[in-house]
């Protein structure tokens, strides 16, 4: 039974939100034509919505507190269903086989449009996994991740435009440039404390975008660069349809490669050092780990991946301009990592699929996309900071 006190609480919350959202939600002015539009219906929606949501909110807070208490007394908390399934080895083979079949068949069953969306989602998986190294494993909040993505995209666009270099020759160049930029930007800023680092990387990201926007001789300014070549295959140029399938498989390959790399890294000497750094910098240093070098490695490796995906992005869209590399793009990749679970490979994959495909397929969502991303970041941090799928650490068996 819901107590009267609870109802009263929710009622007050509802009144408060109706008051709060009144000017923005209800009134809309058009100062040019001097028209004021009153949208009282919105007030009703806010009132009822916040009334109901406040019950959910309190329930979830209570549940979380209970969970924290359980953890303190040493009982292990319940894990999500997917996680439990994945821990069972016998599900592995059928699951992987099933996924492989779906992945291979996808471009032949669905339209070119669908394939293209899926390719985008795969790109975000790789970006997410790359950022996951920086944020999830090493605990460095990088808000300018998109800058390295831009470096990759522009290096392909410019090298292709001026020198006619092809996709495959620029892909490693983009990766290396991403790496170099990562080291150059990372070196001076990585000794900063966590929150300052976030702001500095945000600043760097914006500086790079603003330079691209204003330095017309170099980057062609806001109008961008068009007619970038699609990737070829030993000199063969594909038709539009074939090219999109080709890109799709290329991305599948890159996703698999990235998963292998990140998986190997996170249970390696360097990966453990990253996690230790995230957990406690002082202790980490006192245990003999070079803080700056370890951070720089994570930062530069993340940047390398962004550079690589940047090249692919330019090749996929054949047109780029600075508008593709705003802070919101960084925020989007960050929310993929946050939703999925910081440090968890599977989590990031699921996070990317949800956040990229959902707004594409549910048209109603597409307008609310960024609103959703913002809300997800807040909600996840409040209720489940470890993400949908918490990072699982490797266990070891010893024979006595």
């Amino acid at each position: 039974m819901i107590k009267a006190r609870e109802i009263k609480k929710s009622f007050l919350v509802s009144i408060w939100f109706m008051f709060l959202t009144f000017p923005i939600m209800v009134i809309r002015v058009n100062p040019i034509e001097k028209i004021v539009e009153w949208r009282w219906k919105n007030m009703l929606v806010v009132g009822i919505g916040s009334f109901l949501l406040s019950f959910v909110w309190r329930y979830m807070l209570k549940k979380k507190e209970a969970g924290e208490k359980r953890a303190e007394t040493g009982e292990s908390g319940k894990t999500f269903l997917i996680q439990r399934i994945l821990e069972e080895r016998r599900f592995y083979i059928p699951l992987v086989t099933g996924l492989t079949i779906i992945a291979v068949a996808f471009p032949f069953i669905f339209s070119m449009y669908q394939t293209s969306i899926m390719t985008t989602a795969l790109m975000y998986i790789v970006l997410g996994l790359g950022l996951n190294i920086v944020v999830g494993l090493a605990g460095l909040l990088d808000l300018g991740y998109v800058a390295f993505y831009a470096v990759g995209a522009y290096s392909y666009a410019l090298l292709n435009h001026h020198f006619g270099l092809g996709f495959w020759s620029v892909l490693p160049i983009g990766a290396v440039l991403g790496f170099i930029f990562g080291v150059l930007l990372g070196f001076p800023v990585l000794r900063l404390r966590g929150d300052y680092l976030a702001i500095v990387t945000l600043g760097f990201g914006e500086i790079i975008r603003l330079v691209l926007e204003n330095w017309n001789e170099f980057s062609f300014g806001p109008s961008g660069i068009a007619n970038i070549d699609r990737p070829g295959f030993f000199g063969i140029q594909f038709s539009l349809q074939a090219a999109s399938i080709y890109l799709y498989f290329l991305m599948i390959g890159l996703v698999i490669f990235t998963i292998i790399v990140v998986n190997r890294l996170q249970n390696s000497r360097i990966g453990r050092a990253w996690i230790a750094l995230r957990e406690d910098e002082t202790a980490c240093q006192a245990m003999g780990i070079d803080k700056t070098r370890t951070k720089l490695r994570a930062f530069a490796l993340g940047a390398t991946w962004a550079g690589m995906v940047g090249v692919i992005f330019a090749a996929k869209t054949t047109f780029i301009n600075p508008a593709s590399f705003t802070f919101l793009e960084s925020a989007m990749i960050l929310s993929i990592v946050v939703l999925g679970g910081m440090g968890s490979i599977l989590g990031v994959i699921i996070g990317a699929l949800i956040l990229i495909l959902l707004p594409e397929y549910l048209r109603a969502f597409s307008d609310y996309r960024m609103l959703l991303f913002g809300a997800i970041m807040v909600i996840m941090m409040v209720f489940r900071p470890q993400g949908i799928i918490a990072n699982i650490r490797r266990t070891y068996k010893f024979n006595e």
Partner: protein
């Protein structure tokens, strides 16, 4: 010489508005060590609220003075209410979480509020009425300073004097200073820390709203995105002065305003934001404690 003077006054005006927003960052940081990313959005919401109320009140036939006063008041009230609510929803449950969590929550809140205004209002730039009347006595000096600039300078100085008074001499101010020094200790001696944090958010938001009204009326247009850039610039000012320090925020804001004014006046206006971001990056790298900030020793 006149151009130089004009740039100085322009820089001071800019700087004093940055100061109003920077104070919110610095106060919140001083108390809960969080960069309140959503603070820029609070300022933007203040500007929108003022615009909405101005239009409605003008249509209802209120006279000019009443419109200015009521619209500014509404902006201050609503921004404070938003600041209070944001803290309750996104930061209070994260008091004991790791440092990264509230920061990510704050970024999320900032994006959410931006898009909330975008969806509920519009993505277009809206013209903002010039609320500040043209004074007669200023006419001869118009090429150097405008009435709006005078009003901005006077309003911001008054607000800052009031704030200093509040923090130095009132009970609430004392509680705030105690909480900033050592939250646990303050709690032990009977300070209601949650209330102090709420009050800090409310005051910071009110100042930001004031800044929002002034700058919107000065610049003449607003959209949902103004909070982002202004937020980062105000943050730059706060860091420049030494985050956590109130006089530092004001000093930093004035320095930033003047730098921008001269950089755009003598170099190029294309890179206006680059100068601010560049300054931010340079300070954080070379002098993260800022001009007036002190180095905090971490207890190990």
């Amino acid at each position: 010489m006149e151009y130089f003077l004009e740039l100085i006054l322009g820089g001071l005006t800019r700087g004093s508005i940055y100061a109003l927003i920077a104070l919110g960052y610095t106060m919140v940081y001083g108390i809960i060590e969080l960069i309140n990313f959503a603070h820029g959005e609070i300022y933007m919401i203040g500007a929108f609220t003022a615009l909405i109320f101005t239009s409605v009140l003008t249509l209802l036939g209120f006279n000019e003075i009443a419109v200015i006063v009521l619209a500014s008041l509404a902006a201050v009230i609503y921004s404070s209410a938003y600041g209070y609510t944001v803290e309750k929803i996104a930061y209070k449950p994260l008091r004991h979480a790791s440092r990264l969590s509230p920061l990510i929550g704050a970024i999320g809140m900032s994006i959410f509020l931006q898009n909330y205004v975008l969806l509920a209002q519009t993505s277009d730039f809206l013209p903002f009425p010039n609320l500040i009347p043209e004074f007669e006595f200023i006419k001869p000096y118009r090429h150097i300073i405008s009435s709006a600039e005078i009003v901005i300078l006077i309003t911001t100085s008054t607000a800052m004097i009031l704030l200093t008074f509040l923090i130095k001499f009132t009970r609430t101010g004392k509680a705030m200073r105690a909480t900033a020094q050592d939250r646990n200790m303050a709690m032990l001696v009977g300070v209601n820390v949650n209330r102090v944090i709420s009050i800090t958010f409310v005051i910071g938001s009110a100042l930001a709203a004031l800044g929002g009204v002034l700058i919107a009326s000065h610049v003449g247009q607003i959209n949902f995105y103004i909070g982002f850039v202004a937020g980062i610039k105000a943050f730059t000012a706060a860091v420049l002065g030494g985050i956590g320090s109130i006089p530092g925020a004001v000093l930093g804001a004035l320095v930033l305003g003047l730098t921008e004014s001269f950089a755009t006046g003598y170099v190029s206006s294309d890179y206006e934001d680059v100068f601010a971001f560049g300054l931010l990056v340079l300070i954080l790298i070379f002098k993260p404690a800022g001009i007036l900030g002190r180095v905090r020793h971490q207890k190990i």
